[in-house]
């Protein structure tokens, strides 16, 4: 039974008429996002049909001290939308309207439940598109993208979600409906929008967003190269970027992930140990020119096959293969865990070598698919839940990989967020002083700690709690900086 009392529930029904799901069997289906090993049945689920209803729900939660958690389409990979058993899960799936398309100003205004790809579909007839393209773009919501600052293959050249959000309308944890950011490309004052994007639903519930759209480049050229080894493919990436070329995308897949993609959507990739997908875009003459260099560099690095997508159909086939890669792992392994880490590009091959050693040592297969241009790794650790202890073993392996990323000067997440899954790693990356500072920001928005509590931060220090005696920051200790 729900821990929320009947008085609360009847007020919830009044706040979002027809949108409350309180049947225990129905609530069960909201237990987890795409990270299935973390689950909790929400106390209640509510699917508001307007921003005003979201506001009414948040106000009620604020008044009654009930935790609330926003959820888009539940594709998150870090348990960001993991429900609270005594809280309200606010599902934004019904807020799925594209409110305005302003082509002359290259801007769209959407509700948070609109999927990423729907925006591109809607503006495509005008020769435009929405640039950030997570592999889950056909499903994931803009609200989720903003919360996670999601990225995708084309973020190497075009930037992450944060670079494409102009303003958001959001309900703050006390129930205030406010607009953050402006329709201009840069707004005066503190960059609160930059704080909100990537805050994983811990600062506010987004109810509307104004986003930049871009004009389709004149030419797009996609090249698929097969390499004898991951190292050779990695060399090619370094050489391409070393030539001063910023491709629209550079993606790498290894044999295991290629096999999974083949079993799923038959992209017809070469039978080599690794493939590289390189996409160039821009004016036709520039693309033609750069392509010559890219092809030469790939061949010099040892490419065994180089294939060029001749038409839209072929391009789509290649990208379908890449984008299906995670979920297609279900074809080759009973269970898998998607890790997400990032390292400076120049340290890629070193980290990959350590992962390969770990694979041999652990006895678990590890597939690698990644945004090579950004140094954003996605090792896929295969395991079988039915074998006792293997799930824990996989988790330990995944965690060791994060340590490699930290060792190489990288970070514990490139784009999937910290959520509930990685909060304990935050203290490996940040000193207590850093975490305390982040908490100060968080407390400014959510002093009662009701907005997606228990996520991102390792030990939820209560707001107003004294952070303890002054401790020297590691940067100070190392003599690299001083307190002023």
């Amino acid at each position: 039974m729900s821990a929320l009392d009947s008085a609360f529930l009847s007020r919830l029904h009044a706040a979002a008429p027809g949108g409350v799901i309180d049947d225990p069997a129905e609530r069960l289906t909201y237990e987890s996002d795409a990270l299935v090993h973390l689950r909790a049945t929400p106390g209640a689920v509510v699917l508001p049909a307007s921003a005003a209803e979201v506001q009414a729900v948040v106000r009620l939660c604020h008044e009654r001290g009930v935790p609330f958690i926003a959820r888009g389409h539940g594709t998150g990979l870090s348990g960001g939308a993991l429900p609270h058993p005594d809280g309200v899960l606010i599902g934004l799936a019904r807020l799925n309207r594209i409110l305005d398309v302003d082509v002359p100003n290259l801007r769209v205004t959407v509700e948070p439940g609109v999927t990423n790809l729907d925006i591109t579909r809607r503006v495509a007839p005008f020769g435009c598109y929405y640039a950030p393209d997570p592999s889950s773009q056909s499903v994931c919501s803009i609200g989720g993208n903003i919360a996670e600052n999601s990225g995708g293959a084309h973020c190497l050249k075009y930037g992450f979600t944060v670079h494409h959000v102009l303003s958001v309308e959001a309900v703050l944890p006390d129930g205030t409906l406010t607009t953050i950011g402006s329709s201009a490309l840069d707004a005066p004052g503190l960059d609160l929008l930059g704080v909100l994007v990537g805050s994983e639903g811990t600062l506010a519930v987004v109810t509307k967003a104004a986003l930049r759209i871009l004009r389709r480049p004149e030419a797009v050229l996609t090249l698929l190269a097969g390499f004898p080894s991951i190292d050779a493919a990695g060399d090619a990436v370094s050489a391409i970027i070393g030539h001063g070329i910023i491709p629209a995308a550079v993606e790498m897949m290894d044999r295991l992930t290629i096999d999974a993609a083949e079993a799923s959507v038959q992209p017809n990739f070469p039978k080599t140990s690794a493939v590289l997908i390189v996409e160039l875009d821009g004016p036709q003459s520039e693309v033609d020119d750069l392509f010559v260099t890219v092809e030469r560099v790939c061949r010099q690095a040892g490419a065994e096959t180089v294939e060029i997508a001749r038409d839209q159909g072929q391009r789509e086939r290649i990208w379908k293969g890449r984008k299906a890669a995670f979920a297609a792992m279900g074809r080759v392994s009973p269970n898998y865990y998607v890790q997400d880490g990032v390292v400076p590009r120049t340290r890629l091959s070193e980290v990959l070598r350590r992962i390969r050693d770990l694979e041999a040592r652990s006895g678990l297969r590890i597939g690698n698919v990644f945004h090579a241009g950004d140094g954003n790794l996605h090792p896929l650790i295969c395991y079988d839940e039915a074998i006792p202890g293997q799930a824990q073993h996989a988790e330990a392996v995944a965690s060791e990989i994060l340590q490699y990323c930290i060792d190489a000067g990288g970070a514990i997440t490139g784009e999937h967020g910290v959520g509930a899954d990685k909060k304990s790693y935050m203290s490996k990356m940040f000193a207590d002083a850093d975490l305390d500072t982040m908490q100060l920001v968080r407390c400014a928005f959510d002093p009662a700690n009701l907005c997606n509590p228990g996520k991102v931060f390792p030990t939820p220090r209560l707001c107003g709690e004294v952070p303890g005696p002054y401790r020297q920051h590691p940067v100070e200790r190392a003599g690299l900086g001083e307190r002023f």
């Binding site: 069997a25 289906t29 996002d33 299935v36 699917l47 799936a93 889950s136 056909s138 297609a328 792992m329």
Partner: protein, 421 residues
């Protein structure tokens, strides 16, 4: 006692490996018509699979709300197409529906209505008997209960000549025989779309197929199977296999997508029947949609030009369930003068879905309206599809929206293009 023994979902246990394939990624959500309309996780493929597992594990009962979310599934199989992980949803939903019909008492009205449907729909003779007085029923429509009104509204306005058509049992190939083909004449198809069967026979014969259409054949069992009545479906399947085995044919041509997709799965349906398992698999391997057969036979007959802008609608049971999308398009494009128009949301169901339009009228109408609008938006001269249910549904929805559309079965168009050549 073990939880598994008590739960009414226990029969799902052997299918657990199929559920394990679901990695909860959500890629199936945007193509699921019920999620599109209702926006609830329980009405999505991911949510339904989650509930099946919870049911099997004894975490949820077969309560009315749980059953309601399985009832909203159209069985369109768009989720199978969308799933990168290769989840086989069809056997899961079939088994779940069977469990529901076995354990869940439905209200009397709903039960009688379903019984009426199953007593009439699969039997072409009963349908035909019903067809003649349908005109009278239309006149008295206002006096009938809402559910029956709907049945009458959706029923095709068959002409008397349609009702009288009986397909010849044997039609020789024109010219040298290339294939010996059996034709499933169907139940609804045979009663109301006799002209589609006639067209199928003519096109196949023109392309060098000898066509056997045994009069003794009955329903393929698809309607029963999709509604959770597997025993009835198995009875129909055995009879059909036996009838066609007598003819010694190379392929069985089907012009109704829902029938074809079920017949291709006979091997699975009869897997536990020692007398039939092997025969069913052999039979299933010969089942082909008529467009599959025609594309494997290089055209012998020239096609006369038809200057038409055509919006092709993929029937879910052809596109999603059988993966047949290329063949009908190729055939249409083989007609000089035909322009195929791209249709938005072409992977979403029109809402017909077997008996769905009769048991879930609101959702079905909403999907029909959506489909009709996207089709009308292309400004077509004609909408072409390959399933009788879709034809009725799209015609009715377009008429309701005030944008009537001409909807034809693909073999009728091919027949027209090859006639007199």
């Amino acid at each position: 006692m073990d939880a598994n023994e008590q739960t009414p979902f226990a029969t799902l246990a052997p299918l657990e490996p199929l559920m394990d394939k679901c990695v909860h990624c959500g890629f199936c959500l945007p193509t699921c018509p019920s999620y599109l309309l209702l926006g609830k996780e329980m009405d999505s493929p991911r949510g339904r699979i989650y509930t099946m597992r919870a049911g099997m594990e004894g975490r949820v009962d077969m309560s009315a709300p749980v059953v309601a979310h399985f009832d909203t599934c159209l069985g369109c199989m768009a989720c199978e197409t969308a799933c990168p992980s290769g989840v086989k949803y069809a056997p899961l939903i079939e088994e779940t529906r069977a469990a529901i019909e076995a354990h869940h008492p439905r209200p009397l009205g709903a039960r009688l209505f379903r019984q009426l449907l199953f007593a009439v729909l699969p039997y072409h003779r009963r349908l035909r008997v019903l067809g003649a007085p349908l005109g009278l029923a239309r006149a008295l429509r206002a006096l009938l209960p809402a559910r029956l009104q709907r049945l009458i509204d959706l029923a095709p306005r068959a002409t008397l000549s349609d009702l009288r058509i009986t397909t010849a049992e044997l039609t020789p190939a024109r010219g040298e025989q290339r294939l010996k083909v059996g034709l499933l004449t169907g139940c609804v198809q045979r009663a109301f779309f006799g002209s589609v069967n006639e067209a199928t026979v003519r096109v196949l014969a023109a392309e060098g197929c000898t066509v056997h259409a045994p009069r003794a054949q009955g329903c393929c069992g698809a309607l029963a199977l999709h509604a959770g009545e597997p025993d009835t479906a198995r009875r129909f399947a055995r009879a059909l296999i036996t009838v066609f085995e007598r003819e010694g044919i190379d392929a069985i041509a089907v012009n109704a997508a829902g029938c074809g997709s079920s017949m291709k799965e006979y091997g699975h349906l009869l897997r536990d029947d020692p007398a039939f398992a092997e025969r069913a698999t052999r039979f299933a391997s010969k089942v082909k949609d008529v467009t599959e057969i025609l594309t494997t036979l290089p055209a012998r007959v020239a096609r006369k030009p038809m200057p038409l802008r055509i919006a092709y609608h993929d029937a879910c049971h052809l596109g999603h369930a059988q993966g047949v999308r290329r063949q009908p398009r190729e055939l249409l494009q083989s007609i000089p003068g035909v322009t195929l128009l791209p249709v938005a949301e072409s992977d979403i169901c029109c809402g017909s879905a077997g008996i769905f339009n009769l048991v879930q009228p609101e959702m079905s109408d909403a999907l029909g309206a959506r489909k009709a609008a996207y089709l009308a938006e292309t400004g077509p001269d004609m909408v072409v599809t390959s399933n009788p249910g879709c034809i009725l549904q799209i015609q009715a929805a377009a008429a309701r929206a005030g944008t009537p559309l001409v909807v034809r079965h693909i073999v009728e168009v091919l027949d027209e293009a090859t006639r007199g050549m």
